[in-house]
């Protein structure tokens, strides 16, 4: 039996799971107890192997968990649980929930929490920029459409105001200034200069 045990332990050390020792043929009580314990080790290693291989490939669901009595599997179950939790957290972040934090998971916690804070800050900055752009866009849209303008004096009629009322008509500068950030500085073009102030023009 000792020879068989050595052979099977060597197989285990090579990273493979050996067949169980057939205890039925063993007559020595001590050897029988040893075979039972070795078979339990082989079972534990088989359970861990069946669990860890799919886990290492990123499969988190529907993989066979080692039972609670398999104490050798505990660290792997802990790792699996942490990965499930991080996956859930990542899904929350993907849905825009930045309130989650990962606690007591070492480097994972630090990196993950920094990422969430950074994403949250970036989104706030983006939202602020979008707000500014929307405001600017709203100003621009105020100048959209057909503007009723006086064919002679070039005053513009305020939207929806009574065309018969003189107060409904405002200077173009005033109209545009109220609806945009544009400001006017008054000057005079060469043609008007010639027309109005011909004495001062060569």
């Amino acid at each position: 039996m000792i020879e068989e045990a050595i052979e099977k332990l060597a197989i285990l050390l090579q990273g493979r799971i050996p067949e169980k020792i057939d205890g039925g043929k063993i007559t020595d009580e001590g050897e029988h107890k040893l075979s039972v314990l070795l078979n339990q080790v082989f079972s534990f290693m088989q359970e861990i192997h069946d669990f860890v291989i799919p886990l290492s490939r990123g499969k988190l669901d529907e993989i066979p968990l080692p039972p609670p009595k398999n104490f050798l599997g505990s660290p792997f179950k802990e790792l699996h649980s942490h990965l499930l939790h991080l996956t859930w957290q990542a899904e929350q972040v993907a849905h825009g929930d930045y309130s989650q934090r990962v606690d007591f998971m070492g480097d994972f916690s630090e990196a993950f929490n920094s990422m969430i804070i950074s994403l949250d800050n970036n989104e706030k900055i983006l939202k602020s920029k979008i707000g500014e752009l929307e405001k600017a866009f709203a100003q621009i849209t105020k100048l959209e459409g057909i503007l009723p303008i006086c064919a002679n004096c070039k005053k513009i009629r305020i939207e929806g105001a009574d065309p018969e009322n003189q107060n409904s008509w405002v200077q173009m500068e005033s109209y545009i200034s109220e609806r945009t950030k544009a400001r006017f500085s008054h000057s005079i073009c060469p043609e008007c200069m010639k027309k109005l102030y011909s004495d001062f023009v060569d």
Binding site: P68, P75, E78, H85, D97, S99, D103
Partner: protein, 178 residues
């Protein structure tokens, strides 16, 4: 409150007394030792007097009452689920009750898988086939019931110990509760 026979629960949050002023010198915190001593001796006597099933049933019901009161008095129930869970994690950590982690959440069917590490009831106990966190089962179900207004069931489905002991719970809304 404690001496009359009755068939309905009367516990309210104020029965805890004024925790701020009650212990000006010793403060509010007690060692885990005192908590476990209370819970385990109580449990031991209940098992001998009432049997294991009845004792466990009482512990689950007590946990549920505690969870519901905890939710009503320590948590903001108006938050949407994600923010509520985030708050719950934070409060459980701040109160040193345990480290809650959600593994899966199916909001459509109201089913969750979560773990509690460094738990008050069982952290440091050897991992065995025996489920010991009945109080937690009730506590978690009670919190969810108070939050959703629907009946919930929580069951410890796994545990392991790698350093501290971690327990995994399956939590679900009871059938027909929608």
């Amino acid at each position: 409150m404690f001496k009359e026979d009755r068939d309905h629960k009367k516990f309210t949050w104020k029965d805890l007394g004024d925790l701020e002023e009650g212990r000006p010198n010793l403060g509010q915190n007690v060692p885990l030792l005192a908590y476990r001593l209370l819970q385990y001796t109580w449990r031991d006597v209940m098992i001998t007097e009432l049997g294991a099933d009845k004792a466990n049933d009482i512990i689950i019901k007590a946990g549920k009452l505690a969870g519901a009161q905890f939710c009503e008095n320590m948590l903001n129930r108006e938050l949407h689920f994600d923010a509520f869970i985030s708050q719950l994690q934070r409060v459980l950590k701040d109160q040193a009750i345990g480290i809650l982690r959600i593994e899966k959440a199916d909001l459509e069917h109201m089913r969750f898988t979560l773990t509690v590490a460094e738990d008050l009831d069982c952290s440091g106990l050897p991992s065995t086939d025996e489920v010991v966190c009945q109080y937690d089962e009730g506590f978690i179900a009670g919190i969810m019931e108070a939050y959703t207004g629907k009946p919930f069931h929580a069951k410890e489905i796994d545990c392991w110990a790698s350093g501290d002991r971690v327990c995994r719970f399956a939590v679900r809304m009871l059938e027909g509760a929608k």
